[in-house]
């Protein structure tokens, strides 16, 4: 029973992490309607910046985190402006954009690998604080993760549903050309939403850096998870991304009961494979976000 409980806590925490990633990507994807993978590179950089600040600047962790997030916003803005906007303008094919943004991510990660090498970097000062709750232990980082996920979910829901910016983003998501006609500056809003999404993703980078550490390829790995969360939850649905992330996190954690740990990756990808094959719209997805004839 203890095992189940601690697995549950772990699962929820992992799920929360994945939910944050999923929400971030959902924000980016729902507004752009294209697979922009560059946020993977932003993720790696944000994680490394946090590590650098935490390890070398002597600033308190929380401040370092905030600064890292600011950096994340600026970096993602830069990436969008310099590369991704160009990609979007120049190509009609979404595959080109996917590949190009993946190239941007690869470049960003390669630079990190060249400068700092492939070791895992953790931003830790002192021991982790542990909260005890009955027989269950949970580290402070994991608790923060869960709380952040929930808070972010509510925040983004609010922003998207209530504020003018959110409503405009959704309008653009459903019909980009129409929004241009109506007078919304689609490009600006897309960039803004993407940066916001990157910030969410960046938050996970900070949390992970403080927990288990970051390495150059982590942006790519996280990008994959964000992907899976969104596809499982359903393309076009923000709530779905949250749900998708949670489910993947829980499944991965509980899979340990039955399968060897090494199989976790295999299971995740197999799940992704089967979902795309048989239920591409995911759990809560909008029906046919792109139609044929």
């Amino acid at each position: 029973m203890d095992l189940i409980l601690s697995l549950l806590v772990d699962g929820i925490c992992t799920g929360a992490r994945y939910a944050i990633l999923g929400m971030g990507f959902a924000l980016i994807f729902n507004t752009q309607r294209m697979f922009d993978l560059s946020f993977g590179g932003v993720y790696t950089w944000t994680g490394f910046v946090f590590w650098l600040l935490a390890a070398f600047s002597g600033l308190p962790l929380t401040l370092a985190a905030v600064l890292s997030l600011a950096f994340c916003l600026i970096l993602s803005y830069g990436v969008q402006k310099v590369y991704v906007s160009q990609l979007r303008k120049k190509s009609s094919k979404s595959v080109s954009i996917m590949l190009g943004s993946m190239a941007v991510m690869m470049i960003m990660e390669a630079v990190v690998a060249i400068i700092w090498g492939g070791e895992i970097r953790v931003a830790r000062t002192g021991d982790a604080g542990i909260f005890k709750w009955g027989s269950v232990q949970i580290s402070d980082i994991k608790l923060y993760t869960i709380v952040s996920a929930l808070a972010l979910f509510l925040l983004v829901e609010f922003v998207f549903m209530r504020t003018p910016l959110g409503i405009k983003s959704r309008a653009i998501a459903s019909n980009p050309r129409l929004s241009l006609v109506v007078g919304l500056d689609a490009e600006k809003i897309v960039i803004l939403a993407t940066c916001f999404g990157c910030a969410l993703v960046g938050l996970d980078a900070v949390l992970v850096c403080a927990d288990t550490g970051v390495y150059p390829a982590i942006g790519f790995q996280s990008m994959l998870i964000a992907f899976m969360a969104v596809i499982l939850g359903g393309i076009g649905s923000f709530e779905g991304a949250f749900l998708g992330g949670m489910i993947i996190g829980l499944v991965r954690t509980f899979a340990v009961l039955r399968f060897p740990t090494l199989w976790q990756e295999l299971i995740s990808f197999a799940v992704l494979f089967f979902i795309i094959a048989f239920k591409p719209n995911g759990l809560l997805g909008i029906r046919d976000w792109k139609s044929e004839v």
Partner: protein
Amino acid sequence: MDYMLHIAIMILINIILVVSFNILLGYTGIFALCHAAFYGIGAYTATLLMKNAGFSFFSAMICAMGLTAVCSLIIAIPGLRIHWDYMVIFAFSFQMVIYHLILNWMDLTRGPQGIAGIPAATVFGFEFVTKPSFLLLCMILCFGVLYFVHRLEKSFFGLVLQGIRDDQIAVKSIGKDVTLHKIVAFAIAAGLAAVAGSLIAVYISYISPGYFDLHMSVFIVIALIFGGLGSIPGAILGTIVLTALPELLRFIPYLPSTMLGGARDLIYASILLFFMLFRPQGIMGKSD
């Protein structure tokens, strides 16, 4: 000299991969980001047949081609029902599943340890043990593959594939079964990738999952994009340049070897980005 032979052999093997991938991406327009998976299935099948069942090189290769082609159905059939854009992710998930399967299926593949001691290729009693002789074998097979794909390009089937790339719906409206064509294209591309798999297995006498991962699939993609989609000379050009490039890196005086991986990735990614931005059809490519 030995080193040059090695590069030449790798180029030939990679050409087979890139040219077979061209059938999917260049002709048919299917972005199957899983070609390394087919490469791997071919390699492991040939290896196991040669090592554990005593098959000769050619029979192992033929069987590997068949099995890989059949495995391509796993992705081809569900892949037909999903929208074009999804294909990349779907193929990617297939790639990852196959990779992790190879990695984890210890009983069959010995996982990360790989399989060593693969016997050299023997054809009609002649053992291709030395590098020059193996180069000859590679040249023969590579030429065979190139000729096959060249004939394919000029056939009715090839025309329809190119039609599918341009406009699937139009192809349906002229009475061609798009579904069947895609399945066959996948099977052919996968089967040819298995040829490369068989070759690499007997060349290095050792295979491990790391040769057949996403990195490799991406490499194949970049090589084709660089050289030109839909063009056999383009595929050859792209392969030569991209295989030779990282080797040139070794000669840069102050570059520490720890940075090689990152530097190589940086170059590949920059090439990819450049082409996506400025010339998506590649150097010698025919169309978008």
